[in-house]
């Protein structure tokens, strides 16, 4: 049995200041030219049979902001022009300008059973903001619970 693990830090950024929005994800392994499909992604689809474990998240903003980690069972439909349905898994509140760093003692685990599941990160604020996040996601394949 061979378990493959890859822990990646994704940065999430808003493309413009707004009161709500989706954060676009970028990581150091990502090939980005600025032309589709080589652009930062708003929706992270988890490959078939893999798990994504979210171990920690940092949120920074110049004003109070709420960041939600959202899950969709049909996230892959985003890339075929569809509209996935999202459910919130966790909410992080930055109560004032600055930064918070949260390490989860137990990770948020999302398993891709169909190959269509995925995550997105959205923000909301009372004022127009352009927040940044950094989220630590471990991709695991071959870890089977007995």
């Amino acid at each position: 049995m061979s378990v493959a693990r890859e822990l990646k830090t994704f940065s999430g950024f808003a493309t413009a200041a707004a009161t709500t929005g989706t954060l676009y994800l970028y990581t150091s392994d990502m090939y980005v030219t600025g032309s589709s499909p080589y652009v930062p992604i708003p929706v992270l689809v988890i490959p078939y049979g893999m798990k994504a474990k979210i171990w920690g998240i940092r949120v920074s903003s110049t004003a109070a902001v709420t960041v939600q980690i959202q899950f969709s069972p049909n996230a892959s439909s985003y890339y075929s022009g569809g509209t996935p349905s999202w459910a919130t898994l966790d909410t992080e509140n930055l109560a004032s300008p600055g930064e918070i760093a949260i390490e989860f003692r137990r990770p948020i685990v999302v398993t891709s059973k169909y190959g269509t599941e995925g995550l997105q990160f959205v923000f909301a604020s009372a004022s127009s903001v352009q927040p940044n996040i950094a989220v630590d996601i471990e991709f695991v394949w071959g870890e089977v619970e007995e």
């Binding site: 061979s2 890859e6 995925g118």
Partner: protein
């Protein structure tokens, strides 16, 4: 290491065979094995090779998991939701050595044509979610489930981020790499390898004791589900035969020796 087993501290901390130990290479589809004596490791002290990006050249045509076939946009980049077979499969990285004059070695940097040498490779592909398949020889799929050929082109599991295998003389191997993430990735490859000076062991006493794990040895499972004619021919060319039958538990030694004698080259 899914295909390597250590019977008696024959492996070092890198997972390579120590000098002066025996190694058996088991061929599952034929239930045969070759036994080698590892006399020494040529690359002692520099077993870890940072290969660099996977040998995916810009413009290489890939196949999409969902039909969106893309080409490799830049050296070493796997397009999103696509899989590709590098051609040539594993050339020497240009920063490592000049292009070899031997075409086979230019295509597959671990190619060699001597019977007294073996390579053991452990390939670590980054990022680790990259799906990897070994083809022996290139173009011949070896991943199989109960008679059905599968591989990186299918949506199921298979190896991700890691391959390990033995390189036999006269053979080149092929690879398929797949990226089922929704973004293109810059890949990397690190290789832990042993370049061994070996002797093929044909002394039936030693062979029997290695195959029944009574002598300290390393046991490699050659990751093939069928033996291609090319592979069979090269074994015959370099070793004179296609391996010793592995004795079943309880088989009288005399019975096994009779079989093994018939398998030895005449």
């Amino acid at each position: 290491m899914p295909f390597v087993y250590d019977y008696g501290k024959a492996l070092d901390e890198l997972g390579l065979v120590k000098d002066n130990y025996y190694m058996a290479v088991y061929i599952p589809p034929t239930n045969k094995a070759f036994v080698f004596w590892v006399k020494g490791r040529v690359n002692s002290g520099y077993e870890v090779l940072h290969y660099g990006p996977l040998p995916l050249v810009s413009g290489l045509q890939c196949t999409g998991y969902t039909g969106n076939n893309l080409t490799v946009p830049a050296t070493g980049v796997l397009p999103p939701a696509n899989y590709c077979s590098p051609t040539p499969p594993l050339p020497p990285p240009p920063q490592l050595m000049p292009v070899p004059t031997n075409t086979n070695q230019a295509n597959f940097m671990f190619y060699f044509d001597k019977s007294d040498k073996l390579f053991q490779l452990r390939m670590f592909i980054k990022p680790r979610w990259i799906r990897a398949e070994l083809q022996v020889p290139p173009g011949v799929e070896q991943v199989q489930i109960n008679g059905y050929y599968e591989g990186v082109s299918k949506p199921g599991g298979w190896a991700r981020g890691y391959l390990d295998f033995i390189v036999f003389p006269g053979l080149t191997y092929g690879f398929v790499f797949g990226n089922d993430m929704v973004f293109g990735v810059m890949t990397g490859l690190d290789i832990i390898y042993g370049e061994y000076n070996v002797n093929l062991v044909t002394d039936l006493d030693v062979v029997y004791n290695v195959l029944t794990h009574q002598l300290p040895s390393a046991w490699f499972v050659f990751p093939v589900t069928h033996v291609d004619t090319t592979v069979n021919n090269e074994w015959v060319k370099y070793y004179g035969f296609t391996g010793f039958t592995v004795p079943q538990p309880g088989m009288p030694r005399s019975q096994w020796e009779a079989i093994a004698r018939g398998e030895l080259p005449r």
